[in-house]
Amino acid sequence: MIVRISTEGQYELSDADAEALNELDNEAVLACESGDATAFHATFDKMLELVRTHGHALDEDHLSGSDIILPPPDVSLEEARQEFQGEGLIPG
């Protein structure tokens, strides 16, 4: 599964890691909905960390679309609230 961290780059992530990412994403959505900035940033940082450490960075000249696109690392809660809604990153 290809994951992009906005403004940073694309990573190839295993299905197991994508599953872990999805769980964190659900937490992030909950934090967003309750307006808890501290919880949101803590969870979102974990998501970034997971992708950066477990993911394999794609070459710069690699040409393919991403399955998941994460917001930029410096996203604010306010911006995230507009994006992280409903089902979260991975539908279904």
């Binding site: 000249d61 998941i68 991975i90």
Partner: protein, 264 residues
């Protein structure tokens, strides 16, 4: 639809399919797409130039303020030596304001430096993707039938299109931050224009609006302790030396800065 991934991907894909629909001929699509990529790359370069210009402007302001700090300090000493404690206090209050400004300028210059690096990295990434797209399009044009080419183009265009959207986003964020700093920089310029950092010898005996505002802005305790320190340094032996210098700055270390020239 779910969160960001869905939304952003949808926007990107919609834009790309619109682009692909526009041309019936695959090679035309390829050229159009390539042209768009080159345009974006030019925009990124302009964006970087914009950030560099803002950074240089802030650096110039920093230098000017540093000179002001030295000058105001010297003037405070001169005023104190001349027995004019009120004037010395005003000088120290202004020095205090200038120092606070300096600290915030320093962090802004660092932030812009960071922006510049990020945008330069984005530019390199986009350039690599465009180059990859360029060679891919030559292969597609040479090897595939029109129908097959359409599929291959779609794949390649999605990859490069997403990168383009992402670089666009990165650039927008960097420029938003730069805009905030520009506003800050012009606020400092307004302070200068309002005479906040001007040569104190030009000030009359009366207290004006700026003085009152300054008093509120600057930390009184800091000014007090600095004044006391300065007094101790000067010692009790220093007799009044008449009025404060005429402002020619001939005895002032580090003078000859912008504001002094403006004031004369």
């Amino acid at each position: 639809m779910p969160g960001l991934s869905g939304r952003m991907s949808t926007v990107v894909k919609a834009k790309i399919s619109k682009m692909l629909d526009r041309a019936e001929d695959p090679s035309e699509t390829l050229e159009y797409s390539y042209q768009k990529q080159i345009e974006l790359l030019q925009n990124v370069k302009k964006g970087i130039a914009d950030v560099v210009t803002s950074k240089k402007r802030l650096q110039l302001q920093t230098e000017k303020l540093q000179q002001q700090v030295v000058k105001l300090d010297t003037q405070a000493r001169q005023a104190l030596a001349a027995g004019n404690e009120d004037l010395a206090r005003v000088a120290l209050e202004r020095k205090n304001v200038a120092q606070t400004e300096l600290q915030s300028l320093d962090s802004q210059v660092a932030e812009l430096e960071n922006q510049q690096q990020q945008m330069t990295a984005s530019e390199q990434k986009l350039r690599a993707k465009i180059e990859s797209f360029r060679s891919r399009k030559e292969v597609i044009k040479a090897q595939y039938s029109a129908a097959e080419a359409q599929v291959k183009i779609s794949e390649a265009a999605t990859g490069v299109g997403e990168e383009m959207a992402d670089v666009g986003l990165a650039m927008q964020r960097a420029l938003d931050k730069t805009e905030n700093m520009k506003a800050r920089a012009s606020a400092v310029q307004e302070l200068e224009a309002a005479g906040t950092f001007e040569d104190l010898t030009q000030i009359g005996s009366g207290e004006d609006d700026i003085d009152r505002q300054l008093r509120q802005l600057s930390s009184t305790s800091e000014v007090d302790s600095e004044l006391a320190k300065m007094k101790a340094e000067l010692g009790s032996g220093s007799a009044p030396q008449g009025a404060l210098g005429a402002g020619d700055g001939s005895t002032t270390e580090g003078s000859g800065s912008g504001a002094q020239e403006q004031a004369s």
